[in-house]
Subunit: 462 residues, 2 copies
Amino acid sequence: MANLDSVLACLDLNLDRSLERLSALLRIPSISTDPDYAEQCRLAAEFLAGDLGAIGFEAAVRETPGHPMVVAHHDGPEGAPHVLFYGHYDVQPVDPLDEWKTGPFEPVVSQMPDGTKRIVARGSADDKGQLMTFIEACRAFKAETGGLPCKVTIFLEGEEESGSPSLNPFLDANRDELSADVALVCDTNMWDRETPAISTGLRGLVGEEMVVRAASRDLHSGYYGGAAQNPIHVLAKILAEMRDADGGVTIPGFYDGVEEPPESVKASWRALGMSDAAFLGEVGLSVPAGEKGRSVLEQTWSRPTAEVNGISGGYTGKGFKTVIAAEATAKVSFRLVAGQDPAKIRAAFRSFVEERLPEDCSVEFHPHGGSPAIQLPFDSPLLDKARQALSDEWPKPAVMIGMGGSIPVVGEFKSRLGMESLLIGFGLGDDAIHSPNEKYEMTSFHKGQRSWARILAALGAR
Amino acid sequence: MANLDSVLACLDLNLDRSLERLSALLRIPSISTDPDYAEQCRLAAEFLAGDLGAIGFEAAVRETPGHPMVVAHHDGPEGAPHVLFYGHYDVQPVDPLDEWKTGPFEPVVSQMPDGTKRIVARGSADDKGQLMTFIEACRAFKAETGGLPCKVTIFLEGEEESGSPSLNPFLDANRDELSADVALVCDTNMWDRETPAISTGLRGLVGEEMVVRAASRDLHSGYYGGAAQNPIHVLAKILAEMRDADGGVTIPGFYDGVEEPPESVKASWRALGMSDAAFLGEVGLSVPAGEKGRSVLEQTWSRPTAEVNGISGGYTGKGFKTVIAAEATAKVSFRLVAGQDPAKIRAAFRSFVEERLPEDCSVEFHPHGGSPAIQLPFDSPLLDKARQALSDEWPKPAVMIGMGGSIPVVGEFKSRLGMESLLIGFGLGDDAIHSPNEKYEMTSFHKGQRSWARILAALGAR
């Protein structure tokens, strides 16, 4: 353990410099969903490939039809396992911009009244801060020992926030190169500030955009109101019918294949001691809005959902305009659990909408990503080693939890490369990812680096 | 009639110059609902006051807390009636801008394949083109006869498209100055290209903006989906419940006081020979979407409605964002018929929404204008004279019709000044007012001027 101790000391000593490197990355507005930021996405990829090259990886920016990937390789000791680290360098859009207290791409370190520090910027927690924890761990190992305890491949994506259109073809085309003994995916949260977590279940995702059209142009609501179809009403009615009064989803076949988690799993979730009020209170809510009779952990970890993520139609500026819009749009997403097939859910949703379209209306669909849920095996030796390494670093032992969000890449690693994933991340529930004033705790950044050093050492140990 | 003939000849001779004056007015982007265009609204008012002064009116731009009014006076012969002409110089916003084929504030005259010409610009039909028909008729009378056949007051508003917040206080404060024997309101349509119309019934309007809020910030739909209230769903459900399956409005008390038009009136509407298919076909629709069992003329002239004019919430940009929005907004308007009280309808709507708000949600309302419907008497001698004058000008005799749109000022003229209005306009159903590529037929502009000359002569005749 002498090596590990010096690596940990090196990380402690170089925290400020690692923060400078992260800040440089955070300053690049790599918003993948907006084509206007394509060049910035490329810059972020080049920055990371350059940094990995400087550490001693064989690193390259790899082209795709969309934003590029970064792939970097480094050998390990004879007989040591091969791990593939995954993160993503792209970020979410920043609107509503006026709710940011500092520029989203001008990272600042704020000290809170309790003395803790946080890094505030878009992408600080999702996922630039997280992916840098791993890279810093590798840098320290190289500096202190001249090598790494495992064979390491680093694989960084630039389209995670925009449906990962290039991921599957890239995995298929580079199957041998990217197949490792296990993937280490760093895009998730701790259980709380003191308790690290390994996520063993992840919901899948199906995204759909629908555009409902009626008249051939916008109409004056005085002349036509009461006689012309209003696509906003059509849309509102369909979306309202998609959920029943008890919070369930009414799309036929939606729950096909969905199973209840074993009672032992539900019991372990109850043992985490998370009340509905605590979970929701943090964001100003109090009552679980989903399926009746289920806790928020059940609702978000074990049950599928349908959510409207965006809606627009007609006049939405200041003031008022008495118009009947020619079209209205909604962006809808479904979170899936094990047993649900994304393609079937998408088709069932489209049928549900089409069956409800009144005369004179048409609908157009645009798919935005689709991935199945996954459920990791609980009995892997690698999982045990990682769990112990995390427990050594943090005040409380690591726990195994579910996750409401989707990390499509984990399903693809399994189905395309036959590779299981360990989902280990250092985010916190109040990091405000996808929201204004996103932050990453300095503790997450620092102890995250130390955690990866411990995990690499543990996985590499004979 | 020698005088009238020379006035009509003068209008024919000066059509090009009148078009230049209209174009100058159309180039001013006087969008009243958007505060960014306040200065442009003032410019339009100054343009008109200047033009009226040049003709020989005593004209002034009159301040209000909002956009200014234009008021102009001209004497008439001893014993001639006093008429007040009303129009509005403000226009609707221009979005969606990318659907305009030419700049909305760069008026052009296009010649159609059938040889007809049209003036294309925002406000060409609603209402700058229309109000200039009256001003040009006055100009020609002055040029040819040195005077006007009636005492004329011209009253031009700059807030008609944004709820007329300053109108009522202004009418109250200038009651004596603005009270005339009859108002001539030029903001309506012909029955068809050959048939002029006088509108004898107008729907009222109540506008409401509602903002539904849930969580204290935007949420990640993976972490919170299935547990957190989604204000877009809340909004969609309330809007969906506002209408029943037969096209009726479900708000309690909504139809209180609403009466069926007399059978004789319905028969006269049927005699107009307007089929549902023809009314709707023009805008790409085929089936009346309103209350079942009623023709489109009944639906738009005699029945109240509820329409969503705009909706927005969550991510509405390009691509996709898996967010649960903190708030969602809808702009809703109600068209009222005789017997409905705007204040009661507004209160009933608010109660309807509040009763349906789930836990953890709040709602905020913003009123946007409210005016009762009006029904003009059919037996006025002024109406008979105007009808005959219009019938003399156009290929077919003038008809008396209902109107689905609202012209709040007509109700205010009646309730505050005790003044009836004759609603005479030269717009056409396909003018695309409130939509991209708004146009005004050159025939409307030209024969509209001639119509007003005839009407002024007829009203002034002893």
